[in-house]
Symmetry: none
Subunit: 401 residues, 2 copies
Amino acid sequence: MDLDFIKKLKKPADTKIVLLVMDGLGGLPRESDNLTELEVAYTPNLDYLASCSICGLQQSVGAGITPGSGPGHLSLFGYDPIKYQVGRGVLAALGINFELRQQDVAARGNFCIIDENNRVLDRRAGRISSEKNKEFCRLLRDIDLPEVDIFIETVKEHRFLLVLRGEGLSGNLMDTDPQEIGKEPYQPRALSSGAEKTADLIKLFVDRAYELLRDHHPANMVLMRGFSQKPNLPSIEEIFGLKSAAIAAYPMYRGIAKLLGMQILGTEKKIENEFSTLEDKWNDFDFFYMHIKESDSAGEDGDFNRKVATIEEVDRQIPRLINLNPDCIIITGDHSTPSLLKYHSWHPVPVLLHSKYCRTDNVKRFGERSCITGGLGPRFPAVDLMPLALANVKRLEKFGA
Amino acid sequence: MDLDFIKKLKKPADTKIVLLVMDGLGGLPRESDNLTELEVAYTPNLDYLASCSICGLQQSVGAGITPGSGPGHLSLFGYDPIKYQVGRGVLAALGINFELRQQDVAARGNFCIIDENNRVLDRRAGRISSEKNKEFCRLLRDIDLPEVDIFIETVKEHRFLLVLRGEGLSGNLMDTDPQEIGKEPYQPRALSSGAEKTADLIKLFVDRAYELLRDHHPANMVLMRGFSQKPNLPSIEEIFGLKSAAIAAYPMYRGIAKLLGMQILGTEKKIENEFSTLEDKWNDFDFFYMHIKESDSAGEDGDFNRKVATIEEVDRQIPRLINLNPDCIIITGDHSTPSLLKYHSWHPVPVLLHSKYCRTDNVKRFGERSCITGGLGPRFPAVDLMPLALANVKRLEKFGA
């Protein structure tokens, strides 16, 4: 649903919504018993909630599309992830807690290997260590560019962040990363006339980077992509009329929440501490976004059992959430991360929406296959969850007479 | 589906479709036995039909969006309710059987209370009686405006209808109703240059209304909204090639049907009489829209049992419908009106579509939860029902070679 349409229908109410995101929640069945991580997990509390919720499976972008964390989260917050794109550079900055200013241009860099003919041999330089990355970043910090400040920060392994700060910059540039082995890196190129100055600066940067790195190992060059500036997203308050807070331990998720105007609550990484933060701040906000990272990390590590254990750990905290008596609870993930695949996937994600007025279905168990027959259906658009939550807490006017 | 697309595919056939709308059909479970109105009701005939139909739940506008009667019905007739909006003023006119002409501007008025600082104290003046409303309307009929005729009619309680008739009028005006207590009414304002004359006239009207009402109780002012002109909607015949008739006892629904070019058949409010009208006129039309109001009224009154009784009363008439042997029957509501909420709601509405070629599913009972697993799914777009009905009566050509 168009955000402007929702915006016009919003109305105030003294009600609270909690969106609990278990990152990478959805999974795939393991061979031994044909059960997924969530199906294996002992989750009496999630199952209880499912039995008095409307359930289903949700998808962010479309069938077959694997969302990154950015689009996955924007969808859950009701923002069409195709219309509202947050550049890779900006996401990288958010992910390491780099304080981007409004006019900054951020880009994601890879340390890579090129051969003597300037052709890419390895786009990730064999996934160099973060230590090695820091060493290379120190080298690159020797680079000066005319009229702008330049920041170079290690992200992780082969990935680093480049930020240019100054007047008249634009993120509308082509990637230099050709995304293919055997090709030459692309020359920095402006995609609009306003971006030519930035393209020239990036060309200077890339040339100097090569001079500094060419005799080094295991990486000897940089590939840049996702040039972008902080987007101007309408805030959660503006669209939905909700005073909102984020309880998330990882910078990337705190960053996305901040882009949408949420207040960021201090919390530690332990799952039970996130629930303590929720309890402490319960009276101060209308909408709480809680983010659990560990389910995704376990999935990316291919660690089926650790993902099961994480889900069970969250389940044990659910009574604390229920005791707060929220008017609406949504529990889901931002995408699937099956341990079998060790990566984000396109599979729709189990979702439950609980409220006094949700109209329960016949689902009794929170799982990938039990939710197929839920009232939200097996392909519920993630962007519709927020409007539905607003309706359930009586924060939406009727449309038309 | 775009109406122009459907229009090109339509083809004639000697077949009949009946769309039976039980207003506000969808409900929510009551606490005692966790069953909805429709689930409690004894409906052997609807259940029989469901068992040889394709079933599901349909929604008009989108997840979480509560449709008014206008959008709810337009969707059922296949018209995108966001694209084809019928103004509140026009709907008010339709609702009291006021014969709007093509250039008339209609607005919905509220009798309200403002304080000495011109701030709204009560937008509905405590929902004054319709009697009091009539008295105030008689006062307002003293108002003369230059070059136009003016009509003022009681709708119900605090609501009245204002119609201006003359040359060069436009409905493109801002509401004067600020929709909030403590704010001043907005000044009448044109939203396009063509509407300035009308804005001036409304300003005169509002000023004069205040002069006439200021010393009265319990209302002393008017708030105007939904300025609008009769929309030019393509007719059901033009789009679907159907000679269509409406069997509806209430003016609002007859009015909407008339906007779409349906012939309005005389009928009384008794449900069995609507079915008699259907039998009497069976040979004269291709498409019958039947409207049952009482299920919605009972829901709005919070009267669970009366809603159950209404559904059962309709069920008893279903054999008469089946005996006519229509080529396609659709039974649904224009929105949900759970007795629990006493108001329209956003919940999707049970729907069954019966025809010889519908491809039945496994649903054996017509109800909110039984229909979730039906062949139409739990979120079928209401606007797609008419094209599907046309297909089922062989009135749609193949698309493409």
